[in-house]
């Protein structure tokens, strides 16, 4: 599974971006997106397109974690969303590493059909992403508590990045 995580400000500009791969099930933590080089801008595009869905869901559901909200079938990308208090959105695009197979008897899908790296919509994945989002939210609140940070500023702290990638390694 490859991941693209982005924090989007209330005015829809990205504040923080992080790309990483799974570390579970022997993953090396390197993202391998199906769409190769174009993924750098395609991921941004797909994630921003899902903001419309976020706006539809956010007033119907008072949870902070909105779960899996959108899919982009051409690259088999799935988007999960977490809403922080000030309408700051944490969006995670995840793309399973194996191509979706039509036959359910395929060997790889029977081995790991429920494990996090392969099945983007299983309850286990939802739970893992939720734990990841909660951990990032805690780091985000710590960032906010810095008197030098204002909402809408880019997050440049290398420690923030370290913490986010540590959370990614831990849960995803």
């Amino acid at each position: 599974m490859s991941y693209y995580f982005v924090i989007i400000s209330p005015t829809d500009s990205p504040l923080f971006e992080h790309t990483f791969g799974t570390s579970k099930a022997g993953g090396d933590g390197v993202a391998r997106f199906r769409n190769g080089e174009t993924s750098r801008y395609m991921n941004q595009f797909i994630v921003h397109a899902s903001l419309d869905v976020v706006e539809e869901v956010q007033w119907l559901n008072n949870n902070m974690y909105l779960k899996h909200i959108d899919t982009y079938p051409p690259t088999n990308s799935h988007i999960s969303c977490f809403l922080a208090g000030t309408n700051v959105r944490f969006l995670l695009l995840h793309q399973p590493s194996t191509a979706p197979t039509t036959s359910s008897s395929n060997r790889s899908s029977t081995i790991s059909s429920t494990s996090v790296p392969h099945n983007p919509t299983s309850p286990q994945t939802e739970e893992a992403i939720k734990q990841f989002m909660n951990e990032v939210f805690e780091i985000w609140v710590k960032t906010l508590m810095s008197p030098f940070y204002r909402i809408g500023m880019h997050i440049k702290s290398p420690i923030f990045r370290q913490r986010v990638s540590a959370a990614g390694r831990k849960w995803l």
Binding site: M64, T86, L144, I151, S157, Q162
Partner: protein
């Protein structure tokens, strides 16, 4: 960054980020370097950043009233020296409180999660306020205790205007040590608190104007009313959500 030809050597060592070795000679002779130093980040001497602090450590900590009064007095006089009238002064205090409210909203939500209430994480989740009433309860029963260690004294709805609510504080901390001159009797320094409230409302997606007004009674000479006036589109959404049956 990496064009050191006309830059003094010690400076270029620092900005070009050429690694811990050069940093060791140029700036921090004894400190043990770690990877983040090469990015130009300077850590405090105890190596603890804001990310190492527990968010609940100051949960029950209180600030001395005198130190708050001193800082707030400076804020008011700073603002007063730069404005022409009372309204402008209140606006300025309001603007100083607003960013604080935006930040406190996330802290409030964090502290209502299981992780934030210092127990181990479970499946329960914090709820974002979607309707006006949960938002106002959040203000009076969560924000107020966070700021002043007590809930607000009362919450009322305006009988004439549907989009107006009043949060009433009998003894606002901001007005406690401030004696307002007679010719400025309209001034309410609680405009700062109004700004914080407005920040929380705006952050939660309930755009509003919050103003503070003196409504002294015989028993409570400092009694202050915070008038929360929601924008029309917030009220429209409120009606929509009511029809959809969302709480």
């Amino acid at each position: 960054m990496s064009g050191p030809s006309n830059v003094p050597p010690s400076f270029s060592d620092r900005v070009s980020g050429t690694g811990p070795q050069q940093l060791l000679h140029s700036r921090h002779p004894v400190q043990n370097q770690n990877s983040s130093s090469s990015t130009g980040l300077r850590l405090p001497s105890n190596k603890k950043t804001i990310y190492d602090r527990n968010l609940n450590r100051s949960r029950n900590a209180e600030l001395g009233r005198a130190s708050f009064a001193f800082l707030f007095m400076e804020m008011v006089s700073y603002a007063q020296n730069r404005v022409k009238g009372i309204q402008e002064l209140e606006k300025r205090l309001n603007e100083q409180g607003h960013p604080l409210g935006l930040k406190l909203l996330d802290l409030l939500l964090y502290r209502s999660t299981p992780a934030g209430s210092s127990s181990s994480s479970s499946s329960a989740q914090a709820a974002r306020p979607l309707r006006v009433l949960p938002l106002l309860t959040l203000l009076t029963t969560k924000l107020y205790p966070l700021l002043f260690s007590r809930p607000a004294d009362s919450l009322e709805q305006s009988t004439t205007n549907p989009g107006e609510y009043m949060i009433i504080d009998n003894t606002p901390l901001t007005n406690q040590f401030i004696s307002v001159p007679k010719d400025m009797s309209q001034l309410s320094c609680a405009a700062f608190v109004a700004g914080i409230i407005e920040g929380v409302c705006d952050g939660a997606g309930f755009e509003s104007r919050v103003t503070s007004h003196n409504h002294a009674t015989d028993v409570w000479p400092n009694r202050t009313v915070f008038l929360v006036k929601f924008e029309n589109h917030v009220l429209e959404r409120e009606r929509e959500l009511e029809r959809a049956g969302i709480k």
